[in-house]
């Protein structure tokens, strides 16, 4: 019997073929071709352990949480609160009181904007973001500016799509109340020096919110080491279901913030004269939460850690390097975003072919990429382009996927001659 051996002391090679078998959707055929899914930055796919955890919860444990003495309500509460503890561990937060379940990154940022920013900020105060932000980390702050009279400042980027750090540092002042920054740019893949930015922001007395939507699937996030006062992310970009996300906030900050939405779950007592609010984190969780989503998120974290986040990240880096080299050889391809430190995203244009046409042509050969402005119109404006095509990699992508992308781009060049 032949045994598979690996050199003593070497880590076992990352087995993407085995990982792919965990994702049933990857067996799909699109337009007669096996699916090549290169759109994980928009939404990743779900592995069987996540699908099964959700199914098992719905089949055996569902009732409303925190509301009943009956067995199922207790089972649901245990599953939901167990998921919260799983998230705490994933982020290395101090307490589950710091873990608020929300719909996703967007809701998490809006919660901070409305509950932290709106009551505190006023004329003369500044919110500092970067030119790389997703609309979800721009518009909520513009709304707070309209509501309070505070000012939005934007730290610029260079032509490689990297933060101009010195400019960022110059924009920090005693007026800066909050720095809101992406951990990883969704449009370009740039990894921002968040820890350094947080240190600088704190030195000026500003708080730091990190939009971690694109970071959590690719990197180990320790909110304490990072120095994030708030950290927001979505489940669906890290192999969990849609409609569940997390706001991490330092307990002291969350404690001082008023509830964002009112309703059930977030109260202790209600009378027509006055209601008293629940403790953290439930103070911020009005209404019945997405219980099965939280269960799925916990399962996704287990799954990702079973693969090893570092191993996944290393695998994706290899694919990114391969794709960057391969696309660089195709005449007319221009890479958009060439930062020294990138994660998993390759944005590009092809001369003479609009990104939308490129997306259609790639789709006809079964290759799914995102095309458009990636909810980052200011980034597109900076580069003077209306749109890019974006290939993004997840734990299940392979070198074959890169080859299929390259072949598809060849097809696009043929069609447009």
């Amino acid at each position: 019997m032949a045994a598979k051996v690996s050199p003593i002391g070497a880590a076992p090679a990352y087995d993407a073929a085995r990982v792919r078998r965990d994702f049933p959707i990857l067996a799909t055929h699109v337009n007669g071709h096996p699916l090549v899914y290169l759109d994980s930055a928009a939404s990743s796919q779900r592995p069987l352990p996540v699908l099964r955890a959700v199914e098992s919860y719905e089949t055996h444990s569902h009732a409303n949480v925190h509301r009943g003495v009956h067995a199922l309500s207790q089972a649901a509460t245990a599953a939901f609160e167990g998921a919260r503890e799983r998230v705490r561990r994933f982020l290395n937060a101090r307490s589950t009181r710091e873990i608020v379940f929300v719909r996703g990154t967007t809701e998490a940022i809006n919660l901070v904007a409305q509950s932290y920013g709106r009551p505190r900020f006023g004329p003369g105060d500044e919110i500092l973001i970067t030119a790389l932000e997703h609309h979800a980390n721009i518009v909520p702050w513009q709304m707070v500016c309209e509501q309070t009279g505070c000012t939005l400042k934007v730290a610029p980027i260079n032509r490689r799509g990297e933060l101009a750090y010195e400019e960022f540092a110059r924009l920090l002042s005693a007026r800066t109340q909050l720095v809101a920054v992406a951990h990883v740019s969704n449009a370009l893949g740039t990894v921002l020096p968040v820890q350094r930015m947080a240190d600088a922001a704190h030195a000026h007395g500003a708080l730091v919110l990190v939009d971690g939507a694109q970071a959590v699937p690719h990197s180990r996030v320790d909110v304490r080491t990072l120095g994030a006062d708030f950290y927001a992310f979505s489940g669906h970009k890290m192999y969990a279901p849609t409609g569940i996300g997390v706001l991490y906030g330092r307990e002291q900050l969350l404690e001082a913030m008023p509830p964002w939405q009112g309703g059930g779950e977030m109260i202790l007592t209600v009378s027509f004269e006055k209601s008293t609010y629940n403790e953290l984190p439930w103070k911020f969780e009005a209404g019945t939460p997405n219980i099965s989503g939280a269960v799925g998120l916990a399962a996704a974290m287990d799954y990702l850690e079973s693969l090893g986040i570092d191993a996944v990240a290393a695998h994706e880096s290899r694919l990114l390097a391969l794709a960057t080299a391969e696309l660089g050889r195709i005449p007319g391809i221009e890479l958009v975003g060439t930062a020294a430190h990138k994660a998993s995203v390759l944005s590009f244009t092809l001369a003479g072919v609009h990104a939308h046409d490129l997306g259609t042509i790639l789709d006809t050969v079964g290759v799914a990429v995102r095309t458009g402005h990636h909810c980052a119109m200011p980034v597109m404006s900076f580069f003077g382009i209306p749109a890019t095509a974006r290939a993004s990699f997840g734990c299940y992508n392979t070198e074959e996927d890169v080859a299929r992308l390259v072949a598809g781009l060849g097809r696009a060049r043929e069609v447009f001659g």
């Binding site: 609009h354 990104a355 939308h356 046409d357 259609t360 402005h373 749109a387 097809r411």
Partner: protein
């Protein structure tokens, strides 16, 4: 799905060499109408300029940046409506709309080169690319100056 149905030679030609591209300025008499169109889904923007002579489209131009389908559709549109009466343009709008959205509609004989757009209906995600210029023209004729959106 057949790419050749979508990217027919006429489409590729009008994408590469858009006709009546540019803007119309105020000089030259006649009523000058203008509207901007925007497809927030893909970021495409285009402007349509029309010079009317009474009820007749005396001249028409468009400018903007967009995909091959939206550029070719706009270019073909300018050729098709130039010299037509307002009412005839409205009829053409309906015919094109039917062509793009009704799966089994046979191209109307009167459509001429516009029939090349029929391949778009097999690609539902791209129908809005083809209709953007037409909605923008409609807005220009009906309101004179407006921004229309496909969403």
């Amino acid at each position: 799905m057949d790419l050749k149905e979508l990217y027919r030679d006429v489409i590729l030609d009008h994408n590469r060499h858009p006709r009546n591209f540019g803007r119309l300025e105020g000089a030259g008499g006649g009523e000058l109408l203008h509207a901007d169109g925007h497809n927030p889904l893909c970021g495409d923007r285009l402007s349509v300029y029309v010079r009317m002579n009474g009820e007749r489209v005396e001249d028409i131009r468009f400018e903007g940046s967009g995909c091959a389908i939206s550029t070719a559709s706009a270019s073909l549109m300018t050729e098709a409506v130039k010299g037509k009466e307002r009412a005839a343009v409205a009829r053409l709008f309906e015919q094109v709309h039917t062509l793009l959205t009704h799966h089994d509609a046979a191209p109307d004989a009167g459509l001429g080169k516009l029939a090349a757009l029929s391949g778009v209906r097999e690609f539902p995600a791209r129908v809005k690319c083809a209709t953007l210029s037409w909605h923008t023209l409609k807005a220009a004729l009906e309101h004179g100056a407006a921004t229309v959106s496909t969403e």
